[in-house]
Symmetry: C3
Subunit: 163 residues, 3 copies
């Protein structure tokens, strides 16, 4: 009875910062939202790169964080394929192929997800370790939270994916 | 009451085209099927390589798709380990080690899964982007479907894995 | 009614032997345990490296297993980041950054998980293929079991992750 009243829910950990995995996550998220499901995406580790702003530079303190945040700058436009990146050519080609079949880009998918009510949550722990401040994220990001928040969402979900 | 009558169900997204991850997916699938569970495997992105035919060449239009489908030819016999592939030697060794303990090969696992009623579904969206036609897949593949189909299966499942 | 009496349960397959993925798995595990959830971690393929002893050498028979277990020695202190390992420098830096914000190390997390009752289970099939004997594992490992055991745990779980 109670179950029948529950909205179906989907939770995803986005651990990876690869373009292909990010695309898979957002295609699943927007499809689920269009089916009326509640969706929470929890971005952690390299996954934070997916939701970082494309513009400006990240401010970091100390040489280690400066180095990390230069190499690991992130932002949707800097994501690379996990395979066949080929110094950018493979990734460029994949974007072209997606355009030819009228697939939305990763940026369009992030905007769509946000407009459909998908919650985009950044992991506080990773932000702390990697020295990523809250203003590094794009405006679609709903909030920052920890692993306990993710587990609370997962416990209410029909399916939970680690991507 | 209703729940007790439901068959336990397992759904997997096979995103990866690595031999080791494909093996893990099919070992879990066939074990679950042998326990009486319903199993659906949804192959997407590089995961399509696992279920492509080994024989013949893939027909593609345009130089980008021709290039992609040459580099990313796929087929169970061309899958490589995610680690220690070492230009084929590591992958060859792993197959040898599996044979020594009488483990089935990836091809045998795919056949077994099919005979046990595991549904092998190819992602239509990836097929569209990567220019993979339906006749590129081996006969064990049950159907082509999109992310909405996967989510429907996941919503009925006890566990859903992203591999 | 019955459901309300069930303890919430979380099951994870740890397939990866990367330090970053292992950290994510143990942070989730210890957080879940601290929330009163039952947690089972099932280590398979490269994931076995996470729970191998750091000390001594692994005994293996035959040149292939000797070679594999030399290259793939494992042990928490030998795990590398999936990205930016940079011949050890990136991994060393990440450990430093974690220390600066007082995050526990992977070793401390494994001990914590064990003390909190998290079950650490090694996959018998992988042990067989890779010639890893039971005494290769650290004392926190609870038992060895196969895929059927993992599926039994997953069927009782609120969430199941493949990491």
């Amino acid at each position: 009875m109670v179950q029948a009243q529950c909205k179906e829910k989907l939770t995803m950990v986005v651990f990876s910062g690869d373009l292909d995995r990010a695309l898979a996550a957002f295609i699943i998220a927007t499809t689920a939202a269009s089916m009326g499901m509640e969706v929470t995406m929890f971005f952690t580790f390299w996954g934070l790169n997916v939701i970082k702003k494309n513009e400006g530079s990240l401010k970091s303190q100390g040489w280690m964080l400066k180095m990390l945040n230069t190499m690991n700058r992130g932002g949707s436009k800097r994501l690379a394929l996990s395979k066949f990146h080929m110094m950018g050519m493979g990734t460029w080609m994949m974007k072209k192929l997606m355009k030819e079949v009228n697939m939305p880009t990763i940026d369009e998918l992030i905007t769509m997800a946000n407009e459909m009510g998908v919650k985009l949550v950044a992991c506080t722990t990773t932000c702390g370790v990697m020295g990523v401040s809250e203003d590094s994220f794009r405006s679609e990001v709903t909030s920052l939270a920890g692993a306990a928040y993710f587990l609370g969402e997962a416990n209410e979900s029909k399916a939970t994916l680690f991507i």
